[in-house]
Amino acid sequence: MNSFIMKVVRSVSAITLTLSVAFVIAPSGAVAQQNSDTIKIGGTLSLTGPLAPTAAMHKIAGEVYVKQLNEGDGLHGRKVEWILLDDQSKPELARTLYERLITKDKVDFISSPYSANIALAVMPVAERYGKALITSTFSMPKLSRYARHFTAWSVGPTPEVSIPTLVLDTLAGAGKIPKTMAIVTGKTPAADFIAAGAREVAKQRGVDVNLYLEYEFGTRDFGPIAARVRQADPDLLFVGALGLEGNMLLEALEKLNYAPRNHFYLYPSPGPLAASKLGANALATALFEDLPPMNQSKAASDFISAYRSAAAQANLPYQEADTQPAAMYSTLQTLTAAVRETKSLDDSKIADWLKVNSVETLIGKLRFDGPGNFGADLTKIKQVQNGKWVVVAPKGFATPGATVIAK
């Protein structure tokens, strides 16, 4: 038994078991301060890895909400503790961490991770333990198969139809019904199906889709795509863009001395697109903006001031209290509303209540009564005007005095 091999086997076994034990007993940030009187909400966010820039907004929004909650009477008179772990932008790790939060940290509720991919990995865990999962940015209703999954990303049960319809309606409202439309989309789960839906909607409304192009996620050189767009010269450029892709496409178009007449971006980075002179009149989806009428409620103004302050303290490059942080904030509003109304910590009661009730949140009145628990469609269309975003549709959410600029 003195052999080298045996030593190695023993060492590896010891290391593995030690680390497993360490994992079991390791404190997880706030858990070290936990109190049995508190109500624990546990979740992960992608605090490191490629999703970290956006997840950082969600973290601040969540912290703002929990702080505000505890400054009031908490939940059922008990303080709320948010146990937040870093899933490192890895779905497999998120899954494991939710198992840990539920079975080891014994959280009362789980909070939303950031991104649909990670939410999908977490869903089986939530289902196994019957936990209600209220996600912040889940935009694909067809993939929502867990009966207790709800989302604050309230785009309705068929966003592939409703979003392009709203875009075309918005332009039609300004009397500019596009005759031609170019669709350019990244091949990512969130954008791909919306672009495909836009093609169908265009066909039904008699709009000629004279270009349909797909590009791979991570594309940086938009020159060839820009050349095709310029050649097509559409009345509307519909871009299934995430993040900075829209800016990159516009820069490529500028090099060809071309500016689209009307242009729409699905989920752009709001700051850079508004700041760019090329982004003038760009349209995009929104769920919440720091603009009237959405910022008029006390809850909204409290959130906005607290979020801006915390974001500045955290040195976030983009500190606007808009869709992303509002979505996270709204998940917690939804959860606490259900807890209060049911006077219960039972996930099944909370889920049952959510299915038949609506909840007032920053984003609007959320309902979960449709397929996949997707209910109300609260999508708004915003536009860059004079270097700033204004909401232009639908009418009930439009920024006072703002009308869509269409060519």
Binding site: S3, F4, I5, M6, V8, V9, S11, V12, S13, I15, T16, L19, S20, A22, F23, V24, A26, P27, S28, G29, A30, T44, L45, L47, T48, K59, I83, L84, L85, D86, D87, Q88, P91, E92, L93, R95, T96, L97, E99, R100, I102, T103, K104, N117, L120, A121, P124, V125, R128, M140, L143, R145, K187, T188, P189, D192, F193, E216, F217, G218
Partner: protein, 598 residues
């Protein structure tokens, strides 16, 4: 007394025992980890251990090709990805086990196709191979993204994982554990098999490995297929674990970089290396997940890994091996050159007639980019003959040796060994047919000990021995050349004279019919030359024919039965040494044409 070590650097008698202990250890691990679900631990424990097992499987499978053979692949994500998407798409149409197995098989088939192309191209090593494998990942991800395999929206797995011990997580955990232990067992088996030994030789010097009789192409292909199969199976199981797969995440650079890091930390030349590296890195990554200090923690882990890699370039197992080697050196008594040696089976004076032809070269020609290196060279080597091969620098002697040994294929001509044309059969087959060679500048396998170098030659050479017999033969030939007391040293720890003799021992261990000694005396002192001349005679006494390439004319004249002279790629003389050296054209070739002033 000399401690008898094998290629693994382990006492030979302990080798069998170690295999037995490994088997017991593996069984124990299977029993311990396999019984865990029976006790119904919290699911996150199984989930956490699953992630460790997953990375062990991936890192270990990567090491079987890249660690052992030195062909660093950045394309492991390709095979992992094939596994992911195979199960994602096939699991609805067939039993899960079949889908997972098929995932592994598909990955292996793709690896064989890629390997069959790239391994044939000699210069596709190092960064070129790494980039090419990385490109294969990009190509595959593009195919998956732009076809119904995915098409863009990702694939959600609808299949239900069966619940063992009442939990799906237990099932996934057991699957992950199984593929991890399978990978470790395979890596262990490969390391101590002739395949593993051949791969280690490939990593150190592929050309020499081929000349030693190692079928390098087949071995690399086999390692690639095994590696890909295991990665495919691990990927298939992981698809079930994450339940929703996308191209962006599946084919990201994360997988190849992580497995590389894990293997390098643990040690790439040992089966346990990736296992240790994966356990440490995955644990460090997954243990410290506090939301409060996420970035700082990741930076600290990264910095620790950088320092660890700098301090331990051979990884943790590299440090362990070095420690073991020091211990062996301290406990090994010196055995002298005069130690009586017993003759290994099959070695002895030849019974063949000295007049019979062993090797016949007919009309060998070879040109490099239009420059003719050899032109219609024909000659014979008889049984038990020492044939001197001389010529000025650049005359084509080494090229001729490279042709005979199968390293170069001639443009025309034939090399008959006992009537069989071996000119076009490849280096390792030539070696196995009974032709061995040494190099002008010794080219030992740098990371194998002196004994391991010779053992490897014995195992793959003409005699193609089993490991035990190869070890015996290594002992014999090391004693024959006087290196028994340096058997456990690394080649870098012995002097030039000893390295030359190591070349000899290695060539002899293949039990060749013909051995080609390429300037084996160069750089030796006069006493060492005398000793070497004596050794060449002793080699001939074993019944081996010799082609003796040398500039030292004293040795050539003393040793050669016959002499041929090459100049500018052409044979210009062939006959008894003294007669040949007096030929005018030979004198001209060496001294130039006399010009007498009028």
């Amino acid at each position: 007394m000399v401690k008898n070590l094998t290629l693994a650097g382990m006492p030979r008698m302990a080798r069998t025992r170690a295999s037995y202990i490994f088997g017991v250890g593996l069984f124990a691990a299977l029993a311990v980890f396999g019984s865990l679900p029976f006790f119904q631990p919290p699911a996150f424990v199984e989930s956490f251990l699953y992630l460790i097992f997953f990375w062990i499987a991936l890192a270990t499978s990567w090491t079987i090709l890249s660690g052992f053979s030195g062909y660093v692949s950045f394309g492991h994500g390709t095979f992992y990805g094939i596994g992911i998407y195979s199960v994602a798409r096939l699991s609805e149409h067939m039993p899960l086990t079949a889908a997972i197995l098929l995932a592994g098989i598909l990955s292996a088939v793709v690896a064989i196709v890629i390997g069959a192309i790239v391994f044939r191209i000699q210069h596709l090593r190092g960064e070129l191979f790494a980039l090419l494998t990385l490109a294969s990942t990009f190509i595959l991800s593009t195919i998956v993204l732009n076809t119904p395999i995915d098409g863009g929206p990702g694939v959600s797995l609808l299949v239900s994982v069966p619940s063992l011990f009442g939990s799906q997580m237990s099932t996934l955990y057991l699957m992950g554990m199984s593929v991890a232990l399978l990978s470790v067992a395979v890596a262990y088996s490969v390391q101590y098999s002739s395949l593993g030994r051949g791969l280690f030789a490939v990593a150190d010097d592929e050309s020499v490995a081929e000349a030693q009789g190692i079928p390098t192409f087949a071995y690399k292909l086999a390692a690639f297929a095994i590696s890909a199969f295991l990665a495919g199976v691990a990927g298939g199981i992981h698809a079930l674990f994450i339940s929703y797969v996308t191209v962006g995440e599946t084919f990201s650079i994360t997988v190849p970089l992580y497995v590389l890091l894990m293997s390098v930390l643990g040690g790439t030349r040992h089966w346990a290396g990736p296992c240790i590296g994966a356990t440490l890195i995955a644990s460090a990554t997954y243990l410290f997940v506090s939301g409060d200090y996420a970035l700082v923690t990741k930076i600290a882990i990264g910095a620790t890994l950088v320092v660890a890699t700098l301090v331990m370039p051979g990884g943790i197992m590299g440090v362990v091996s070095r420690f073991r080697r020091i211990n062996v050196d301290q406990t090994t008594a010196v055995a002298g050159e005069g130690k009586p040696i017993s003759q290994p089976p099959g070695v002895g004076p030849a019974g063949a007639s000295p007049e019979s032809v062993l090797l016949k070269c007919e009309g060998i020609s070879l040109a490099f980019s239009g420059l003719r290196a050899l032109s219609q060279v024909s000659f014979e080597v008889r049984e038990n003959e020492i044939l001197g091969l001389v010529g000025p620098n650049g005359s084509g002697k080494s090229t001729l040796i490279n042709v005979i040994s199968g390293f170069y294929r001639p443009d025309e001509g034939h090399v008959f060994l006992e009537g069989r044309d071996v000119a076009y059969i490849g280096g390792h087959r030539v070696a196995r047919a009974g032709i061995a060679r040494t190099y002008q500048i010794p080219r030992p396998f740098a990371r194998l000990s002196v004994r391991e170098n010779v053992e490897l030659a014995a195992m793959f050479g003409a005699a193609a021995s089993n490991p035990q017999r190869a070890a015996d033969e290594a002992d014999y030939w090391l004693a024959f050349v006087g290196l028994a007391d340096r058997a456990d040293a690394l080649p870098s720890e012995i002097n030039l004279h000893q390295r030359k003799f190591l070349e000899l021992a290695r060539a002899l261990a293949t039990q060749p019919r013909l051995i080609m000694l390429d300037e084996v005396l160069a750089g030796l002192t006069p006493p060492e030359v005398s000793k070497a001349i004596d050794m060449v005679r002793r080699i001939r006494d074993t019944g081996t024919s010799i082609i003796f390439v040398e500039h030292n004319m004293r040795a050539v004249m003393e040793l050669s039965d016959r002499l041929i002279v090459i100049n500018q790629g052409k044979k210009i003389a062939d006959g008894p040494p003294r007669q040949v050296m007096n030929q005018d054209d030979v004198v001209s070739a060496y001294l130039g044409v006399p010009h007498v002033a009028a």
